[in-house]
C-alpha cells in the first residue's frame, strides 16, 4: 500500500457501494412484491451464465448474513487458532452491514466469506479469471479490490 494517507469516503454504505456496483457482478432486477409461483414461473429472470435467480441470490445473502456471520458473532472463538486472531464483534458487525447494504443495492452474493489472519473479514467473488474482493480490515478500513489472475488491477476504499 502506498505511504500516503487514504481518506475514507463519507456517506451511507449504499452510496459508498455504488462505485463497486459499477463493476461487481450485478443481480437481475428484483420484483417490487413477492411474486406468486405462477408469476415467478412466467417472468423470473435468470443469470444466463450461472443460471441463478434473483431470489436464490437473496437466499445466498441471507445465508451469509444469518448463518455464517451471525455464527461468528455468537461465537468468535470458532475462528481463534494458532496464529489467527478472531474478528472482533465490531468487525463482524461491519461485515454484516456491508452484506446487508450489498444485498439492498442488488449486488450478487460472494462465492466465499472468510476471515483473514488478523481479525478482518474477506468477501470474494470469482468469475473467469477475475476475482473481486471486499475486505473489512481489522482496523475498520473497508476496501474493494479486483484481480485479473493474480494481478491487482483496481483497489479503492469504501
Amino acid at each position: 500500500m502506498s505511504a500516503k494517507t487514504v481518506t475514507q469516503p463519507v456517506g451511507t454504505l449504499e452510496v459508498r457501494l455504488q462505485r463497486v456496483l459499477e463493476v461487481w457482478h450485478r443481480a437481475p432486477e428484483l420484483p417490487d412484491t413477492v411474486p406468486t409461483k405462477a408469476a415467478e414461473e412466467e417472468c423470473v429472470t435468470q443469470d444466463p451464465v450461472r443460471g441463478e435467480t434473483p431470489h436464490s441470490w437473496q437466499e445466498a445473502w441471507n445465508e451469509i448474513i444469518e448463518v455464517r456471520l451471525r455464527e461468528w458473532e455468537r461465537d468468535p472463538c470458532l475462528l481463534e487458532d494458532e496464529g489467527i486472531e478472531a474478528p472482533t464483534a465490531l468487525t463482524i458487525q461491519r461485515a454484516i452491514q456491508i452484506a446487508q447494504a450489498s444485498q439492498r443495492v442488488g449486488m450478487s452474493p460472494p462465492d466465499s466469506v472468510v476471515p483473514d489472519a488478523n481479525g478482518g473479514i474477506v468477501f470474494e467473488k470469482k468469475h473467469g479469471d477475475i476475482a473481486e474482493v471486499i475486505h473489512v480490515w481489522e482496523d475498520g478500513n473497508i476496501e474493494y479490490r479486483r484481480f485479473r489472475g493474480t494481478r491487482l488491477v483496481e483497489r479503492f476504499p469504501l
Binding site: 500500500m1 470458532l78 475462528l79 487458532d81 494458532e82 496464529g83 489467527i84 486472531e85 462465492d111 466465499s112 472468510v114 476471515p115 483473514d116 489472519a117 488478523n118 474477506v122 470474494e124 476475482a131 480490515w137 481489522e138 479490490r145 484481480f147 489472475g149 493474480t150 494481478r151 491487482l152 483497489r155
Partner: protein, 135 residues
C-alpha cells in the same frame, strides 16, 4: 550434520499449515489467498513454511489441541521461478522452519503482497489433510 541451515533446494517441497476453522481451504473450491496472509505482528521477517526435508507432514500440521488442519504443499522451485525467495530459518526443535521474506508483517497490506498471496494459492501443488492435533 544437516541442521536446517542448508539452502532450500528448488526440488524441495514446502508445507503451509491451514486451519480448517478458517475455511481457507475447502475441497470443493480450493485454497484461498488468505492462507498466505502475514500476521500483523508474528511475521516480521516473513510468513512461515516447513521444509518437507526435515518435517513430517503431520508435524507440519500440528497446531492447537482439538483443532484440525490442512497442509498446503508447494515446491520451492515454483516459488523461486516467480520471484518468491525461500529462506531457511531453523528454530530450536524445528530445523525445517523456513520463511518467505517477501510476505511479512510490515508489507501485509501492500499491493504486491496481496498479489503474492494469490500467486501462492495458485502455486500450491495439492493439499493434504485434514489432520487433527492430539496430545
Amino acid at each position: 550434520m544437516e541442521d536446517g541451515t542448508d539452502d532450500v533446494a528448488d526440488d524441495e517441497f514446502l508445507y503451509r499449515r491451514v486451519p480448517t476453522s478458517t475455511h481457507w481451504y475447502e475441497p470443493a473450491t480450493g485454497l484461498k489467498p488468505e492462507a498466505f496472509g502475514p500476521h500483523k505482528e508474528n511475521d516480521p521477517t516473513g510468513i512461515s513454511v516447513s521444509r518437507a526435508k526435515y518435517t513430517a507432514i503431520k508435524a507440519a500440521a500440528r497446531g492447537r489441541q482439538g483443532r484440525t488442519y490442512y497442509v498446503a504443499v508447494l515446491r520451492a522451485g515454483d516459488l523461486r521461478h516467480m520471484g518468491i525467495e525461500v529462506e531457511p530459518r531453523p528454530l530450536p526443535g524445528d530445523p525445517g522452519h523456513a520463511e518467505l521474506p517477501a510476505l511479512n508483517s510490515a508489507n501485509r497490506k501492500d499491493d504486491r503482497t496481496l498479489e503474492l498471496q494469490r500467486l501462492l494459492a495458485d502455486l500450491c501443488t495439492h493439499t493434504e489433510g485434514p489432520f487433527p492435533t492430539v496430545e
